[in-house]
Amino acid sequence: TWSWSHQREAAALRESLHRHRYLNSFPHENSTAFYGVNQFSYLFPEEFKALYLGSKYAWAPRYPAEGQRPIPNVS
């Protein structure tokens, strides 16, 4: 009796659980990132990207720019 949107959220959550297993499966040291259920787990990645990842890349020149000195040490 679930609505279409609930079914979609459940499917997204199932996909998230698979993804978490993959992301956590890499044998890294203790300090490495860990992944799991959070407030975004009910979203498909493409929905998450469309809603929350709203920045575009902007080119910036290499540091230091020509004729510029590096930032000095600060106390």
Partner: protein, 214 residues
């Protein structure tokens, strides 16, 4: 460089905000950098209006996305005064740009710098110490599932899609990391922050780095 530094310890960084279902990370990162730059000068640490930037920065697309560098260029060129958040509160949707009289109190941007620090993250740390929190653009696709720890894998450089603010770094452990303030609320990640490995341009964190002067 010190082993650990965080502008939060100087009380010049506001608590983490929540962009809700609005793709306005670019505006949140820029406004947060301005708030901190002002507080570093000894002024009060106030919330400034993100909604004003979302509504008025005509070269961006508000909640549909934008570029922090475009927003900084616009703020610098127009010398627009950012008003307090309480005067122009966040609505999480695009709205009509509201104009304020010149006499209105607000904060304008004096200048900004933007550089690619790839391969020079020590210099980037020096910039953080010298100028204040840094606006950066990262690939945050895998951040959807992030709970904590130091992000070292599962993201790429050259695929930037999310603007955030670096407030500090920690080099005391085996894996040095940047402290990255996000705008997805304080329940996400490490009290609203992500930890991203320093060195190696993880998630493209050093590709487009901006400092703000007020």
């Amino acid at each position: 460089l010190p082993l650990r530094f965080d502008w939060r310890d100087k009380h010049v960084v506001n608590p983490v905000r929540n962009q809700e279902m609005c793709g306005g990370c670019w505006a949140f990162s820029v406004v947060s950098a301005i708030e901190s730059a002002r507080a570093i000068q000894g002024k009060s640490l106030d919330y400034l209006s993100v909604q004003q930037v979302i509504d008025c920065s005509f070269n961006n697309s508000g909640c549909l996305g934008g570029s922090p560098l475009c927003a900084l260029r616009w703020l610098n060129e127009t010398q627009l005064k950012l008003v307090a958040d309480s005067q122009y509160p966040f609505k999480a949707v695009n709205g009509q740009c509201r104009h304020f009289p010149q006499s209105q109190a607000g904060v304008s941007v004096k200048d900004f710098s933007a550089y690619n620090f790839r391969g020079q993250e020590d210099e980037m740390a020096r910039a953080l110490l010298s100028f204040g929190p840094l606006v950066v653009i990262v690939d945050a696709m895998s951040w959807q599932d992030y709970l904590g720890g130091i992000i070292q894998h599962h993201c790429s450089s050259g695929e930037a899609n999310h603007a955030v603010l670096i407030t500090g770094f920690d080099r005391t452990g085996n894996t040095p990391y940047w402290m990255v303030r996000n705008s997805w609320g304080s329940s996400w990640g490490v009290e609203g922050y992500a930890h991203v490995k320093m060195g190696g341009n993880v998630c493209g964190i050093a590709d487009s780095v901006a400092a703000v002067f007020v």
